[in-house]
């Protein structure tokens, strides 16, 4: 406390407030980051439980455990929870914790707004999840909420739309905060091209959010008025078009995909140089590649809609623009591999997850390339092949990057080293089961198994049983993760300031655990 220093404003200088008020009222980026991360960890198990309901039902053909309507609301809610409740808040939590420390800033640019961005999340998800307990059941038309199907939903529809508005307010405020922090809070000498790539990828992600979340809000607003106020945006009888919803939705939806992966690229670009003990290969090209991916993400949306009967010219344009994304993405994968080339590599848990990310994300990227080919996509559309594709980029992609980040920075957060042996077990168990879970989906998908259906033809039985084993194995393996976190928080070998031998960056110059306030005086950056 700074009460002794009478000339100071005693408000802006003290440690955490006592009791629960610390968490409710805090303006500290580390507190807010911690809350975001814990929230997303809890939601990870909520969304995971939903996935296990799905996999339990799909264990054998036929209907056995749940009502088909409930099955559909599980697939819908699983997606909404994992996207908006797990991956996005986890990345924002990391941004909160790390960006000010990486830039040598005392805090985020707008700390109170930061608090609000977080404290919207639990309330918004209360609205969202409460729909599962309504008489009409939760949303069951898929997270993409295509009309007219979604307009036939019960009472829960209005609540789902408002929960999306609510979450959107949080995302836009959070992104504005991140943009202002990166542009305005850098320590003297921290030029844009000296920023760690995690900061760069988040800057670009924040723009994707500011530009697309309002479009999503507009799209669901039109759904709402179509349902409750008699407009005809998405009704052909009134001169509208249901496919128009898909265009507007995917104009948001595709950049959203990159919102879920660009910060992951930044994390991997931080971790691989540390454990290869070499600077990142091609820093500049990484920045340009990230910006190119972001730009391209705005002109590829209709590749989600190849079977809607678009004009041929549109199909061709969206096919080629989509394929173009593989160029900057390829640059990234090449740079990661080149960073490892002839490095003095060690394989601590963060590095294992990072290398796992590079390999398995690339598998997801390559199946994406297959899906980009219009004539092929007409076969793959709405099959388990698509499910396999986006789960490869999101689970051993985005989720693995989050685990890598947790292991990488946890010593900085808690001041203790995590249990390396348990961490490695967590990695190997997760990796084995995640492939058991998602790789067979390629086979059943190519053989024609449709997604979002609780029953399936007998020929798909074997691979589905294997996928279900993978799902339960992967799900329960995450309890190891929770145990490692709790154990690390409670104690363990003391971490040094630098933590990792090859670590480079401002966050490694402060004490472990990082003090409540860091860089109150800006550091000099040479």
């Amino acid at each position: 406390m700074s009460t002794a220093e009478a000339h100071h404003d005693d408000h802006d200088h003290h440690g955490p407030a006592p009791g629960f008020k610390r968490w409710l009222y805090t303006t500290n980026h580390k507190d807010i980051g911690t809350m975001y991360l814990l929230f997303s960890l809890i939601m990870f198990f909520v969304g995971g439980a939903m996935a296990l309901v799905i996999r339990a039902e799909l264990w054998t053909p036929g209907l056995q455990i749940v009502d088909p309507m409930f099955f559909n609301s599980m697939t819908t809610m699983h997606a909404i929870v994992m996207i908006f409740g797990v991956v996005m808040p986890a990345f924002v939590g990391l941004a909160n914790w790390m960006i000010p420390m990486m830039l040598g800033a005392p805090d985020m640019a707008l700390p109170r707004l930061n608090n609000w961005s977080f404290w919207i999340m639990p309330f918004a998800f209360t609205v969202m999840l409460s729909t599962l307990f309504m008489d009409s059941g939760g949303p069951a038309g898929g997270w993409t909420m295509y009309p007219p199907l979604t307009l036939q939903m019960g009472d829960s529809f209005a609540f789902v739309v408002f929960a999306i508005h609510f979450l959107g307010i949080s995302s836009v405020m959070g992104s504005i905060n991140i943009v202002a922090t990166i542009f305005n809070m850098r320590a003297p000498g921290m030029t844009m091209m000296k920023m760690p790539l995690f900061v760069w990828t988040w800057l670009i992600t924040a723009y994707l959010l500011i530009a697309t979340i309002p479009v999503f809000a507009g799209a669901v607003t039109m759904l709402l008025t179509d349902r409750y106020f008699g407009t005809s945006f998405f009704s052909a009888a009134g001169g509208g078009d249901p496919v128009m919803y898909q265009h507007i939705f995917w104009f948001f939806g595709h950049p959203e995909v990159y919102i879920l992966i660009l910060p992951a690229f930044g994390i991997i670009s931080s971790i691989i140089p540390t454990f290869a003990r070499k600077p990142l290969f091609g820093y500049d090209s990484m920045v340009y590649a990230t910006a190119s991916i972001a730009f391209l993400s705005f002109i590829v949306w209709a590749h989600h809609m190849f079977t809607t009967g678009m004009p041929l010219a549109a199909e061709l344009f969206f096919m080629f623009s989509t394929m173009m994304i593989s160029v900057p993405t390829g640059v990234k994968v090449f740079n990661w591999v080149a960073t490892m080339w002839r490095g003095s590599m060690t394989f601590e848990t963060p590095m294992l997850f990072a290398v796992g990310f590079v390999v398995m994300f690339t598998i997801g990227g390559l199946s994406g390339l297959m899906l980009a080919i219009t004539p092929a996509d007409i076969q793959y559309h709405d099959t388990y092949f698509v499910v396999a594709h986006f789960h490869y980029v999101l689970v051993p992609g985005a989720i693995f990057s989050l685990m890598a980040a947790t292991y990488y920075w946890m010593p900085k957060w808690t001041g203790n080293m995590y249990d390396e042996k348990l961490g490695k077990i967590h990695f190997w168990v997760s990796t084995i089961f995640v492939n058991l879970l998602f790789f067979p989906m390629h086979f059943v998908g190519l053989a024609g198994m449709p997604r979002r259906i609780p029953d399936y033809s007998l020929q798909f039985a074997d691979w589905n049983a294997i996928a279900s084993i993978g799902a339960f194995g992967f799900g329960f393996a995450q309890l190891i993760f929770v145990w490692v976190i709790i154990k690390c928080y409670r104690g363990g070998e003391k971490a040094t300031d630098q933590v990792w031998e090859g670590a480079d960056g401002l966050e490694w110059t402060v004490a472990s655990p990082a003090p409540y306030h860091t860089f109150e005086t800006a550091p000099e950056i040479k």
């Binding site: 000339h7 100071h8 408000h11 802006d12 200088h13 009222y25 303006t27 005392p106 805090d107 640019a109 700390p111 109170r112 707004l113 608090n115 609000w116 404290w119 309330f123 918004a124 609205v127 209005a158 408002f162 508005h165 609510f166 307010i169 504005i176 202002a180 305005n184 530009a211 697309t212 309002p214 479009v215 507009g218 799209a219 607003t221 039109m222 709402l224 008025t225 409750y228 106020f229 008699g230 407009t231 005809s232 945006f233 009704s235 052909a236 009888a237 009134g238 001169g239 509208g240 078009d241 496919v243 128009m244 265009h247 507007i248 104009f251 009967g309 306030h517 109150e520 005086t521 800006a522």
Partner: protein
């Protein structure tokens, strides 16, 4: 470090964010109940809205007090400026969704319903909407909402355009006044701006009355009615917000909160005002004229 030594002011804890979350929660939940005809929905919505209003007063009041105490340096000011800029950009994208719907319906899906275009359009028209000839303004092949007249550009919309453009000028005069440190002049011209904005909203309401009472043009009049009321309605809501912001700035001007160098609140409200102005020009061209 305090503001004096390291520069950037890290605000102390505040209860307003959590109050705002509770307010919005009640507002959204209540509105959902209301739309589903559940009892108490309207009341919960209003309570939520009231809490949000209290939060806005409390939070802004706190920030104004801190600003008046000289807590914010120029770097904090830059953060505020950037945030307002990107907030306005997010609003632009919100309107883009509705403009996108208008353009898509007029350029693509409308003509396709009428049988134009390659692929299956002609067949769709022949089988599903036989005899439907697409012309904008359209209430669709089922002619939802019955016969109606489209809103012309001459008359109220033209007057409203002139009002908003004039208000942009008066707003700029007020800005120059505060840059010269002339409070009285700033307040006068701001009052004129707020008045023009208020008249605009009033005339817009009159236009809606005309549409419903005499033109049979309703929200339910197919895609034309949907896009017309959605775009002009959201714009009108934004004009109302902007006018409230300018009114607050005007009252603060009366209390001499601003100086020639330091008047970010004024500029933020003015940017917002110019934004609604530009959106209106888009509306006037694409909703009324073309």
């Amino acid at each position: 470090m305090s503001a004096a030594t390291s520069g950037y002011y890290i605000p102390h804890e505040a209860k307003w964010p959590i109050v705002g979350s509770i307010g919005l929660f009640l507002f959204f939940y209540g509105f959902g109940m209301f739309l589903n005809d559940q009892t108490g929905g309207g009341t919960v919505t209003l309570i939520g809205a009231a809490i949000v209003v209290v939060m806005i007063f409390g939070w802004f009041g706190l920030v104004i007090k801190e600003s008046e105490a000289g807590t914010y340096n120029s770097q904090v000011d830059t953060s505020f400026r950037m945030s307002m800029m990107w907030f306005i950009f997010s609003e632009v994208m919100f309107f883009a969704a509705f403009f996108g719907a208008l353009f898509y319906a007029r350029t693509f899906s409308g003509p396709w319903l009428g049988g134009d275009g390659a692929g299956g359009a002609a067949a769709t028209n022949a089988v599903l909407w036989s005899g439907h000839d697409y012309v904008w303004p359209s209430d669709g092949p089922a002619q939802l909402g019955g016969d109606y007249q489209a809103m012309g550009w001459f008359g109220l919309p033209l007057i409203n355009t002139l009002l908003l453009l004039t208000s942009g000028v008066t707003c700029t005069i007020a800005h120059h006044a505060i840059k010269d440190g002339n409070h009285k002049k700033m307040v006068r011209w701001l009052a004129a701006t707020v008045a023009l904005g208020t008249i605009f909203v009033g005339l817009q309401a009159l236009e809606y009355y005309e549409a419903y009472a005499h033109l049979n043009l309703k929200l339910t009049s197919g895609i034309y009615g949907s896009t017309f009321f959605m775009l002009t309605g959201f714009h009108g809501f934004h004009v109302t917000m902007g006018a409230i912001m300018l009114a607050v700035v005007m009252f603060r001007g009366m209390k001499k909160h601003f100086s020639a160098e330091n008047h970010f609140a004024f500029e933020a409200a003015a940017w917002y005002w110019h934004f609604v102005d530009v959106v209106w020009l888009g509306l006037f061209i694409f909703v009324y004229l073309l």
